[in-house]
């Protein structure tokens, strides 16, 4: 593709200004992983099904495999790398660890962000709301029960803070 057709994409990722000039067809997940070297966001199905690539864009979860990078231009992105900048885990991360809400961990970055989005909108979710809130994230290891427990525990922990 001629350079003239490439697009400068400027975003704030985890509070930091980042930019790169890319082909417009570059997917947001590819932009994050291959151009910004933020490989915490995973590519699972690459078909908008599994949610492993979930990130927060302007406060809302999106599947970054189903967004072209230029669509995020000027946006504020949070990836799993931005959840904890100190030695202390984010309460949702801690709850996933404590409740064994993961086995292989591949889906976890996406699930963490979906859980954080859910809890930001619904600080005290019902079981039904938790199920619905993470319905866009597929986990092939856990059977989800421990993930529910983790989200419940995270809600309780975040309420205490």
């Amino acid at each position: 593709m001629p350079d003239a057709d490439k697009i400068l994409v400027r975003v704030r990722v985890n509070g930091e200004h980042r930019e790169a000039t890319v082909e417009p067809r570059t997917l947001l997940v590819e932009f994050l992983r291959d151009h910004l070297n933020l490989t915490g966001t995973h590519i699972g199905c690459d078909t908008s099904y599994c949610g492993a690539c979930t990130v927060l864009l302007n406060g809302h979860t999106v599947k970054s495999c189903t967004l072209f990078a230029p669509m995020a231009d000027g946006g504020e992105i949070t990836t799993v790398e931005g959840l904890s900048t100190t030695n202390e885990l984010h309460p949702v991360q801690k709850a996933f660890a404590d409740c064994h809400g993961l086995q292989c961990g591949y889906c976890t970055p996406g699930l963490l962000l979906s859980a954080i989005h859910l809890l930001s909108k619904t600080p005290k979710p019902t079981d039904q709301q938790i199920r619905k809130g993470i319905a866009g994230n597929t986990c092939r290891c856990t059977g989800y029960q421990n993930i529910f427990k983790a989200v419940r525990a995270a809600a309780a922990a975040m309420e205490k803070r």
Partner: protein
């Protein structure tokens, strides 16, 4: 009626997510084994040929941002036949990644101001084309017509609802889309804007066929206008699907007007995913209109819905299964719509298999 046969040129949406991914996975694995075994290899160090071979992404295109509606319209006309509008992107991007769609140019309309509001005036609800499904799900104004909330709250999953738009969904006219059935059950029209003209088209006329609308080149959906149903109305949308991110197997949208004596003054019954467009089941509506809403008449409506459906057997179910399902869903939706018309609270929406 015979089962419809999808024209060969049209992709079968049911196959998008389940047939093609195997190829993607193979490609991914090949890429992983070749480039990522030991250390991270930057994209820049991979030769152009290797990138072309391993990438599964869309055909190249040029990307344009429209600042106004007029701008969008002119850009699409200027960029030629293969230019497409880009709203939420939740359908066109998967299609482009599978190369079932190969636009040479995309005109992003997300930056156009004034297309993202939900307003109520003069007995109408007006949804800007860029209103996201999640915004409708959480909107009090939209919640005043419960069937809209039923639909918005269950489209795909949270992430898709945060991004997908009502305007894009109607303009795509996917036979399995949720909005078509729901909005047909209500009285809906679509405000279409071209570079020089504007027109309001009733939804019945707007959707012509599978993936086909009356939109002319350069014309786009500006607003979706829904008439507020009269007093004594109740509606419900029930969709049945296997899991969150997929399209429904079958859906039914029912909007009723009841009087104090439980007589059905008016009925809108629309079936989704069982034809090239959402199907208005006129016989089913006639089975209820002007009659008491009793077991016999509801059964007659369900039987009429069974006959009106034109399903196709696919990986989501056989045609017969879908007919039986559509009759059951119509019955269920009538029950919930009637309770709501009487002022009772009742839940409806997308139901998952095995839940």
């Amino acid at each position: 009626m015979e089962h419809y046969v999808r024209p060969a040129s049209l992709p079968d949406p049911a196959k998008f997510r389940f047939v093609l991914p195997a190829r993607f996975i193979r490609n991914r694995m090949r890429r992983a084994s070749r480039f990522c075994s030991e250390s991270y290899v930057s994209r820049d160090t991979i030769s152009a040929e290797a990138q072309a071979e391993t990438t599964v992404y869309s055909h190249p295109f040029t990307y344009h941002r429209a600042a106004t509606l007029e701008d969008a319209s002119n850009l699409v006309l200027q960029l030629g036949e293969e230019a497409r509008l880009l709203a939420g992107g939740q359908s066109i991007i998967p299609l482009m990644k599978m190369r079932l769609a190969r636009p040479t140019a995309l005109v992003d309309i997300n930056g156009i101001p004034g297309l993202d509001s939900i307003e109520r005036d003069n007995g109408e609800l007006r949804f800007g084309a860029l209103v996201r499904h999640a915004e409708i799900e959480n909107s009090e104004i939209a919640g005043s017509i419960p069937i809209l909330h039923d639909c918005a709250a269950g489209i795909a999953d949270v992430q898709v609802r945060n991004q997908g738009t009502i305007g894009g969904s109607l303009a795509e006219a996917d036979p399995s889309g949720d909005w078509g059935a729901v909005l047909l059950a209500l009285e809906t029209s679509v405000r279409c804007t071209g570079s020089k003209s504007e027109r309001i088209v009733p939804l019945e006329e707007f959707i012509k066929d599978a993936y086909t609308t009356v939109l002319k080149p350069g014309e786009l959906v500006r607003e979706v206008i829904v008439k507020v149903p009269p007093k004594g109305s109740g509606g419900a949308y029930v969709a049945f699907k296997r899991c969150a991110p997929v399209y429904a197997t079958v859906s039914a949208a029912v909007q009723l007007v009841l009087d104090a004596k439980n007589t059905c003054k008016d009925a809108g019954i629309v079936l989704g995913c069982v034809g090239l467009t959402a199907i208005r089941a006129t016989e089913a509506e006639a089975a209820l209109r002007g009659k008491p809403l009793d077991v016999k008449n509801v059964q007659a409506a369900a039987d009429a819905a069974y006959e009106a459906a034109q399903p196709q057997s696919d990986m989501r179910g056989s045609a017969e299964y879908k007919r039986v399902l559509v009759a059951a869903l119509v019955k269920r939706a009538i029950g919930i719509a009637a309770r709501r018309a009487r002022g009772e609270k009742a839940e409806a929406g997308h139901e998952y298999a095995g839940r």
